[in-house]
């Protein structure tokens, strides 16, 4: 009996404004939200996604949960930046996610609030802070307490698994990367190297991408893909867990409604239940159902992105690495300045999407990146200039704050804030 483990990843970044070199100021800006982030653009994209995907797909999932009386279960990983924007622009989206969770059959995974790359910093305390922020938000808004973890874009390594175990999570998910699995199948539960209890689920990229990428491709020999056919494939898949992890925007945004993607989803549970070797499980349930079949060691980071399945999507070139290390190196200053508004802006700047828009990879990947980039008319260099100008301006804001705080007080405040930060976690 194989568990079908669906996990939908729901995310929207808080997009940046275009920022000129001449905009770099000396640090006396009052409102950093308006200065760095394009609320008009963010609202536009959020509304679009809410109307095309979140609301209609949530409705379908709610019906499926109600109709299938406990037999249909799945997981969600929802970023903090998405929930924060939902609260601001479309509270009914938060409400509908909350209703899904209220059935008790939906598992929400934790991650970094800001969909950041903080798991790659040499000091992991910022990563841990962002995970705790996410945990608080999910408990407050959705009324559930996450037990499992999914890092930004499934970025994973032994080091990250160990840190996540240290935070008390029972399971972590990542990509079923061939070079890691070797002869092994992604359809089993694994144990991360150097960990005691936490379990690892690996994405079945073939079956996940059949839905996520290929569903509407008319040149694909399996097109059109029906729920019936797909359930037959699932049933014929050997192993214990079939991990189908995909972007939530697959339903209605990446594939438009008229491709039949929403009908596919509506019929998937009933078609799967026609096979008596299939049942649905959340990530937490699936991980707990089976003993780990082997230990997997992942010394350097993998992810689910691009053909390389590593971090090159965000850190593949000089301009990406420059922004990343500028941001990482600002951390001590942020602690010193200890200002709520600076922290919030700082963390929003860490969202990985900003780095993805700077990718200069070859054509096939570039197309994917361009598809997601909100800055249609501009390339990676323009995006870098705007982003680096913002970072430069932000540094000035931080320096200004530190300089303006009376020395003694600032030292005290720094110590206190450190404590508050710790308590928050």
């Amino acid at each position: 009996m194989a568990k079908v483990c669906l996990c939908f990843h729901v995310h929207q970044p808080i997009r940046l404004s275009r920022f000129s070199y001449f905009g770099i100021g000396n640090g006396d800006a009052a409102n950093l939200d308006a200065r760095y982030f394009d609320s008009g653009m963010n609202q536009h994209y959020f509304n679009k996604a809410a109307d095309q995907c979140y609301l209609p797909t949530n409705r379908i999932l709610q019906n499926l949960l109600d109709e299938n009386r406990g037999k249909f279960r799945f997981s969600l990983s929802i970023t903090g930046t998405l929930l924060a924007q939902a609260q601001k622009y479309r509270p009914e989206v938060v409400e509908s996610f909350r209703n899904l969770c209220a059935t008790g059959r939906v598992d929400v995974l934790d991650e970094t609030f800001y969909h950041s790359l903080s798991s790659l910093y040499s000091d992991l305390s910022e990563f841990e802070a962002q995970v705790r922020m996410h945990n608080h938000l999910v408990r407050d808004l959705l009324g559930v307490s996450p037990q499992s973890f999914r890092n930004t874009e499934a970025i994973y390594s032994d080091r990250i698994a160990q840190a996540v175990e240290g935070l008390g999570y029972k399971a972590i998910i990542t990509e079923g990367v061939d070079r890691i699995l070797g002869w092994r199948s992604p359809n089993y539960v694994y144990r991360p190297a150097g960990c005691k209890d936490i379990r690892l689920l690996m994405r079945n990229y073939k079956l996940s991408d059949d839905v996520g990428f290929r569903f509407s491709a008319k040149s694909w020999k399996e097109w059109p893909l029906t729920a019936d056919k797909y359930a037959t494939w699932l049933s014929a898949t050997p192993g214990q867990v079939i991990n189908l992890f995909m972007d939530y925007e697959t339903f209605g945004e990446h594939h438009w409604k008229d491709t039949g993607i929403l009908d596919f989803l509506s019929h998937l549970p009933s078609q799967a239940h026609r096979h008596n070797n299939l049942s649905f499980a959340t990530v937490t349930e699936a991980a707990a159902s089976f003993e780990p079949s082997d230990t997997l060691s992942v010394p350097s980071e993998i992810s689910w992105a691009d053909a390389e399945r590593n971090t090159s999507t965000w850190l593949g070139n000089r301009i990406q690495r420059a922004c990343f290390s500028e941001l990482e190196s600002l951390l001590p200053k942020l602690r010193k300045a200890n200002d709520a508004q600076l922290w919030e802006a700082y963390r929003r700047l860490q969202t990985s999407d900003h780095l993805m828009y700077l990718s200069t990879k070859g054509m096939s990947d570039r197309e994917v990146h361009n598809y997601f980039s909100p800055y249609k008319d501009s390339g990676p260099y323009d995006n870098f200039i705007s982003f680096m100008n913002i970072i430069s301006d932000f540094k000035n804001q931080v320096d200004c704050k530190i300089a303006n705080a009376p020395a003694a007080q600032s030292a005290n405040a720094g110590a206190e804030s450190g404590e508050i930060e710790k308590k928050k976690r």
Binding site: S20, Y21, F22, I319, S378, G379, Y381, F384, I385
Partner: protein, 426 residues
């Protein structure tokens, strides 16, 4: 093929284009007779036959002097480059059959060249038949049209630029526009060097979509050194250098470059701006650099040869092509080949071809200045653009251009054959 110039005898990009194109075509097995105006030099290359249109190549009976065009002398925007060409053509006036007092104006020179070239091509065609006649720009169009009409040979024309581009659409010269329209109408296939140029042919010349082909220019990147030779200021520190290279004319948007320079200098007083090239706008630009208060930081280099350009690029940190209207803009490829980060206006055709440059609106001098400052300020950006530019330029080869050009030749031959077959059936 009919052109206007050929290395080492060049004043603009047309000569280099014909040099590289014919060499690459010949590598594909295309045999080329190349016709150009008479110069006082002998020009030879192993991959083609070059004929300099000269009365001496024709017998007295073949000259047909009565069809010479009437005199045009009122070309208001005539650039020094064209005048320079005219001087060169004066050699023609010493040919037999012409009185000594014949004052050869530029347009007459073009007319005479086209006249002689047409007769020569026809004569050569009778000796050994051609498959296609290929002309470049209006300047050799008349001859191509004439030959094509007389012999029935398919005509291919390359539009490197139009009168609308050269005058920034401000005072297009009607007679040249007429020749250009004539050329497009009479060509079996037309080649443009960018999509925006093709669009102009559709919109303004009413060209049929079936006969316009976009074939972008290319670059022999191996000719460009990629190292950097820092220019040192008076204190021995490396100066940051921003380069403009091209004709100094309205079309090229050099004034916007200077206005952006002023804005850059408002943030960073140490930046140097080089303006290389000559043109009728020079006095106005010098004046403008004084008016803007930036004359200390702007250097006018005057005419810079191809070889000198390679060295100037080595000392430059950014090249800007701010053209108001640019069919292609090959200097951007040269800059990229040399590993110099490149900014081009959105109204430049080259921007359609390359990915690793930054595109701005020519009028948005704030944005232009912001991008210049950013490239100068952020080392990782400079280095990333530099490396990617070099790699991309290496992939933009004349071999590809020749392959596409042969495709256009074939199309021209087929359409001509198909239409004569259709005619025969009637």
């Amino acid at each position: 093929m009919l052109g206007w110039e050929f290395p080492p005898f060049v004043s603009g990009g047309l000569g280099t284009h014909c040099f590289e194109l014919t060499r690459a075509l010949s590598a594909l097995g295309v045999e080329i007779d190349f016709f150009m105006p008479k110069t006082s030099y002998e020009i030879r290359q192993p991959w083609l036959n070059i004929y300099q249109a000269d009365w001496n190549l024709l017998k007295p009976g073949e000259m047909q002097l009565d069809v010479l065009p009437t005199t045009y002398s009122g070309y208001g925007g005539a650039s020094t480059q064209l005048q320079f060409n005219a001087k060169r053509l004066a050699a023609l006036s010493k040919s037999p059959g012409q009185s000594k007092s014949y004052d050869m104006g530029f347009f007459e020179a073009v007319g005479v060249y086209n006249h002689i070239a047409a007769l020569l091509v026809e004569k050569k065609h009778r000796e050994r038949p051609y498959d296609v006649v290929h002309v470049h720009d209006w300047i050799s169009a008349k001859a191509g049209i004439l030959v094509s009409k007389k012999t029935g040979l398919p005509l291919v024309s390359t539009v490197h630029s139009t009168e609308y581009d050269r005058t920034a659409d401000l005072w297009p010269f009607g007679w040249i526009l007429g020749v250009e329209k004539d050329m497009v109408r009479n060509s079996d296939q037309v080649i443009t060097v960018s999509g925006r140029s093709a669009k102009l042919l559709f919109d303004k010349f009413g060209a049929g979509k079936g006969k316009v082909n976009v074939v972008y220019n290319a670059i022999d990147a191996s000719k460009f050194p990629t190292h950097k030779e820092p220019m040192l200021d008076s204190n021995g520190r490396k100066a940051k250098v921003v380069l403009y290279h091209g004709r100094l004319s309205v079309q090229k948007g050099v004034e916007f470059f200077l206005k952006a320079a002023q804005k850059v200098l408002s943030r960073d007083r140490s930046v140097k701006f080089l303006i290389s090239g000559k043109g009728d706008l020079l006095p106005r630009l010098v004046e403008l650099s004084f008016d803007l208060g930036i004359s200390d930081n702007v250097m006018f280099l005057g005419y810079v040869s191809d070889d000198q350009l390679k060295r100037v690029l080595c000392t430059s940190d950014v090249l800007v092509l701010p053209s108001v209207s640019e069919p292609f803009g090959i200097v951007a490829l040269e800059s990229m080949a040399s590993g110099t980060p490149t900014i081009v206006s959105k109204t430049s055709g080259v921007g359609e071809r390359v990915k690793n440059c930054i595109k701005v609106d020519f009028w948005d001098t704030d944005e232009m200045a912001s991008k210049i400052l950013s490239i100068l300020a952020y080392e990782p950006l400079f280095e990333e653009m530099r490396q990617n530019s070099i790699v991309e330029a290496r992939g933009i080869t004349w071999g590809d251009v020749a392959m596409q050009t042969v495709g256009v030749y074939k199309k021209a031959i087929w359409t001509r054959a198909a239409s004569s077959a259709a005619l025969a059936m009637i």
